[in-house]
Amino acid sequence: MTKIILILFIITLLYFAIANRLMTYVKILALQGILLFGIAFIELIEINIVNLVLILLETVVVKAIAIPVFLRYIIRKNEITREAEPFLPNSVSLIIVTVIIVATFIISNAVNSFHIPKIYFVSALSALFCGLYFIISRRKIITHVICYVIIENGVFILSFAMGNEMPLLVNLGVLLDVFVSVFLLGIFINKVGDVASDIDVSQLSSLKD
């Protein structure tokens, strides 16, 4: 069952590569939150019940609801154009993401570790590298935040793989989430959004040597 969910997670990355609108990105994030909830529910059954409930609540409330709603609010409020405006055409993105996923499969086969199931390693690493690639290839700053959340979801999956032995790591992942929320809150409260979230990265290049 976890394998199916993780494969779905990898498919969301492929979908992200060809999606065109910001709202689609936000919906993908919400979907990933639900998928993470599913994995946590199945995998972390051994840990302390209070901790498990906390993690499950966090995945649903923060990842699947709060962050997407918040992002949507920022997009609406700042009237950000709904196109994502990637630097590269979507077909190229799709090819690159596919290459990344295949490469992580090959790497994970070469690694040969007994301590961590391969599928976790593959999905986490592909999320990390795809997230970094999306950050490079997208123009808007708000998409950078979205891609950062994708990277973080990947890390969260990796922490699940060790979750039963070390629940502490999963809790740290939760903290990372709180960190992102604060960071979004900062954008919202301080109205950086008015200045920074609508403009694209090319306008953030006055500081250089």
Binding site: H115, V155, E165, L168, L169, V192, A196, L207, D209
Partner: protein, 475 residues
């Protein structure tokens, strides 16, 4: 005690944030300084004691904590003049001081933490509070710097987190779930080599955003440029130290395994590239704050090379860290006065500073001597030790290009600083010549005096502390 301290510091900063009254604000700052020093003295008296099982007052944490507590006093006092002198509104003032207190608290806790995850948490808090400080001016430049800083640091800290997960996978062989540093050092030889290497790569790369080395150094440069100078003084000294502490703690684990020499190679490569990048930019820069920020990168590169070279390099690295913190913070605080005088950071707009502010000019000359490690300076001693460790370690091929690069840096910095001091600007600009605060000048001189004193005549207790801090590497 540490919990009391954290709770106290947090509540003072919340009060500061809510406070709108000037005098109450002054009292709160005084109370915070008192609390910080009380805690420092308490930690000094209770050495090698575990507090709340996640914090341990070992030698390295005591050294860095002392440096932090000393530098935080002039930083807070300078901010005082900076903020109140410019008639900022009470809200931004509260936010500024609150964020600075949280930053100092998080740094203290990160130095003392004895658990790899706790260090990570507090380093993350430093990112949040530091970005509030960078954002202080609320201009286009500071927004850009804040955005870059928060983004690069968050991605880097995510990398550190991945490194911690890999470390826990490496622990799979020994059935150990405790991530305390002391415990990790004990089981180090039994760790899975492949995962340990991967973990080292991720953690090192992640913390380079804090310490300011290649590859993640860029964010720190913009932050130091755009943050108010008292904050820049903190960023370029104690905030770099937290990155060093993060790397050093993990390095002590690696030093007890078979990947030690491999890790040294990684560190030397990154450190040497950092010095190279710093040299290249030094020649192009026209902004004094950015120049000093790159100089920090150069010094961090030097001390990491010392750490990787081993032998006396271990001792020299920590000595260099301490001395650099004092010298660089004093210099940054003086640049604050300079900025007030000319209202510009561009080297081309500044000239004849010696004429306007003689005391400040003399301080700049001395701090230039200190920071470029010209003989009477303490940094000369530590750099000499590092060169010696490179020679004895058989790194001649690093040492020679390193010396050439350092000479070029002295030239680049010297031409900038002496131009600002003595060469008049073409058309006489209207310089603001109101006299500077004597207390502030005295504090800067004191910081600088510490550099010379500790380098030339280090007290026995200080030497013993450093030796104790590096002894974990060799046992």
């Amino acid at each position: 005690m540490i919990l009391l301290y954290i709770a106290g510091a947090l509540s003072i900063s919340v009060l500061m944030f809510l406070n709108r009254n000037r005098n109450t604000g002054r009292i709160l700052i005084a109370v915070f300084i008192l609390l910080q020093w009380l805690f420092t003295v308490y930690t000094l008296l209770n050495r090698n004691v575990s507090q709340f099982s996640f914090f341990f007052s070992d030698a390295l944490s005591i050294i860095t904590l002392l440096v932090l507590s000393i530098i935080s006093v002039p930083a807070l006092l300078h901010s005082y003049d900076y903020i109140y002198g410019e008639h900022d509104n009470p809200r931004t003032r509260g936010l500024y001081y609150g964020a600075m207190m949280v930053l100092i608290m998080a740094l203290t806790a990160a130095y003392l933490s004895s658990h790899i995850a706790v260090t990570w948490i507090f380093v993350e808090i430093t990112t949040l509070s530091a970005s509030a400080l960078i954002f202080h001016r609320r201009k286009a430049g500071s927004i850009e710097a804040t955005w870059k800083y928060i983004f690069v640091c968050s991605v880097s800290l995510t990398l550190v987190f991945i490194g911690i997960i890999f470390l826990s996978i490496a622990l799979g062989n020994v059935n150990e779930t405790n991530l305390q540093y002391t415990r990790l050092i004990e089981v180090a030889p039994k760790l899975d080599v492949f995962w340990l290497k991967l973990s080292f790569l991720f953690i090192f790369t992640g913390y380079t955003a804090k310490i300011g080395l290649v590859p993640m150094f860029t964010a720190g440069i913009d932050a130091k440029d755009k943050a108010p100078t008292p904050c820049a003084a903190l960023f370029s000294s104690v905030l770099l130290n937290v990155g060093f502490v993060g790397i050093f703690r993990f390095y002590t684990i690696v030093a007890h395994t078979s990947v030690h020499s491999w890790a040294n190679l990684i560190i030397i490569t990154a450190a040497f590239l950092s010095i190279f990048v710093a040299t290249v930019y030094m020649f192009r820069l026209k902004n004094i704050k950015r120049m000093l920020a790159y100089s920090s990168i150069e010094h961090m590169g030097i001390l990491m090379i010392g750490l990787a070279a081993g032998g006396i390099g271990y001792y020299a690295a920590i000595l260099h860290l301490v001395l650099h913190s004092f010298a660089k913070s004093s210099m940054f605080l003086q640049i604050g006065h300079m900025y007030k005088t000319y209202n510009s950071k561009e080297i081309n707009d500044i000239g004849n500073y010696y004429h306007y502010n003689t005391a400040g000019g003399v301080l700049l000359i001395f701090s230039f001597i200190a920071i470029t490690a010209v003989p009477p300076s303490g940094l000369f001693v530590s750099e000499l030790y590092i060169f010696k460790s490179l020679l004895t370690g058989g790194y001649l091929y690093i040492l020679i290009p390193l010396l050439i690069l350092l000479t070029m840096i002295i030239w680049a910095m010297g031409s900038g600083i002496f131009k600002m001091l003595f060469v008049p600007v073409g058309e006489e600009k209207t310089a603001n010549t109101e006299p500077v605060n004597n207390l502030e000048m005295m504090l800067q001189y004191l910081l600088l005096a510490v550099v010379f004193y500790l380098g030339l005549n280090p007290p026995a207790g200080f030497v013993a502390l450093i030796n104790e801090a590096v002894s974990v590497l060799t046992i």
